[in-house]
């Protein structure tokens, strides 16, 4: 049985199509996923992300413990700010991609993917044992609700006195929203401006209700995982299990910039990753835009159109509402970019190779 989030009753009352995702019973869509996608691009969408993990690392050496445990330089992070980073195994393989918030000098919150957070919590506990720091997995105590889209600032502004204009991208702020204590983070996974609100699990329903009511005049609609996936794909953001796996290093994924070799001390994965930093990877992650209407999907081979030689593999693909054509991310050998196709159930469909992302919002 899949685990429900604190908002299961809300999703059922809204008539959501529920699906198992990483062991959680999550809303896939409430109505039309295309309409939900477009609402986030043009107005705003409301997401339940309570399946994500929240792991707290606290103590005088919390920053040093994270410097050792992760590839990023977290002890250098200013309180109130956040970083995108990764945890890798000793071979350099990506165990998860993370957002780490520094809540105070001696308190960090590590946000991990639903499928990985028990493993991440266990790894952090083991890696922190020689530091004066405690690791506490509080995922079950937290709900996470996201408001994403160009109108999200206006919607949230109606429910809080917090200084939202002073809240930068990748920053977090403890605040009261509709009378509920939350951590407001200016982060997201849609390519739009937006906020993620971390709240106590028991406050999830009243928080959702307040956002729904304040958002209605601004075009806010509930949005499911299907829209979340197409939004992040258009924004060129990797999904663990698709673009990122334990068989790939951050460099393989084109994300070597998150590995901070210049930070002090050793870190798990340093020895394995250091030799890779100046080596062009054998494959690179590219964007594909299909010429036709059939959709390249996860696992489909990328081939040379002329001779059918397999030169890569699709990691994620979907019809793009914004581009009006199917798009995909794929790992492709070398720097090949011309004359490629995707083998879609036996038929070669021509694709154009493009740089990521497919979509970038106008600032």
């Amino acid at each position: 049985m899949s685990r429900p989030t604190p908002l299961r009753g809300v999703h059922e009352a809204l008539g959501a199509t529920l699906t198992d995702f990483a062991g959680w019973l999550m809303p896939l869509r409430y109505g039309s996923e295309s309409a939900e996608h477009n609402a986030v691009r043009q107005a705003a969408g409301l997401f339940d992300l309570s399946h994500m993990g929240e792991i707290f690392v606290t103590g005088p050496q919390a920053g040093e413990a994270l410097d050792y445990a992760l590839v990023g330089h977290l002890s250098a992070l200013e309180p109130g700010r956040a970083r995108y980073t990764m945890i890798v195994d000793p071979d350099g393989g990506v165990l998860d991609d993370l957002i780490v918030y520094r809540l105070a000098a001696d308190e960090f919150m590590v946000v991990a993917n639903a499928s990985n957070y028990p493993r991440v919590a266990a790894e952090l506990t083991g890696r922190a044992k020689d530091f004066d720091a405690a690791v506490d997995d509080r995922s079950e105590q937290y709900a996470l609700v996201a408001v994403q889209g160009p109108n999200s600032r206006a919607i949230l502004g109606e429910l809080t006195d917090a200084d939202l204009d002073g809240l930068k991208y990748y920053a977090g702020l403890p605040a009261t929203v509709a009378g509920i204590q939350v951590l407001i983070a200016r982060t997201g996974y849609t390519g739009e401006d937006g906020f993620e609100l971390f709240a106590a699990a028991g406050d999830a329903e009243p928080l959702w209700a307040a956002l729904t009511e304040a958002g209605a005049p601004h075009g806010l609609v509930p949005a499911g995982l299907s829209a979340r996936d197409t939004l992040r794909l258009e924004a060129g953001m990797p999904l663990y299990g698709n673009e990122l796996t334990a068989e790939l290093t951050p460099f393989d994924a084109g994300l070597g910039r998150v590995v901070k070799f210049d930070k002090p001390g050793d870190f798990v994965g340093r020895a394995a990753l250091e030799p890779l930093k100046d080596v062009p990877p054998a494959r690179r992650l590219v964007g594909l835009i299909a010429t036709g209407r059939r959709v390249p999907r996860h696992g489909y081979p990328v081939v040379v159109a002329d001779d059918g030689a397999v030169v890569g593999e699709v990691t994620s693909g979907a019809p793009s509402q914004t581009l009006g054509r199917p798009i995909a991310m794929a790992y492709v050998d070398g720097d090949r970019s011309e004359g490629l196709a995707v083998s879609i159930r036996g038929t070669h469909e021509a694709v154009e190779v493009v740089d990521l992302p497919f979509y970038r919002r106008k600032k």
Binding site: T17, L28, S32, S226, P319, R345
Partner: protein
């Protein structure tokens, strides 16, 4: 609960079939249950008019944001007509699966086997949902 019109027959692959007055031709589409399970349909590939197919052949596909499904021939025969409107506007499969969202017509060679009544199809889909 998706609708299951009583005057149609159904297949286990979630297609509906309707007889045409000539007694030789069937109209085929996907059910509302299938359309809802797929989500927003973005692409429909229909068989070629004039092609001859065998019962159970995959003759086309219906693709949505999240998945793709084959369309099967419910009976052997010749494809006599396809719905070009649904090729141009695949969302017709979602908005009107039993009407404007029909997919193709086939002139039967032999009789279709294993068709379900609306009641039987209702039992099948209530067990799956």
């Amino acid at each position: 609960m998706s609708s299951i019109p009583g005057d149609l027959q159904y297949t286990k692959e979630h297609e509906w079939v309707a007889g045409i007055d000539d007694g030789l031709t069937l109209t085929v589409g996907v059910t509302a249950y299938a359309a809802e399970a797929l989500g927003d349909v973005v692409y429909v590939q229909v068989p070629e008019v004039g092609s001859t197919v065998a019962a159970g052949d995959a003759v086309g596909e219906v693709e949505s944001t999240k998945s793709v499904s084959d369309i099967f021939a419910p009976v052997g025969g010749e494809i006599t007509e396809v719905n070009e409107s649904v090729v141009d506007d695949p969302s017709l499969v979602n908005s009107d699966p039993y009407g404007e969202g029909w997919l193709f017509r086939i002139r039967m060679e032999g009789e279709p086997e294993d068709l379900l009544s609306a009641e039987e199809y209702g039992v099948l889909t209530s067990g799956e949902s």
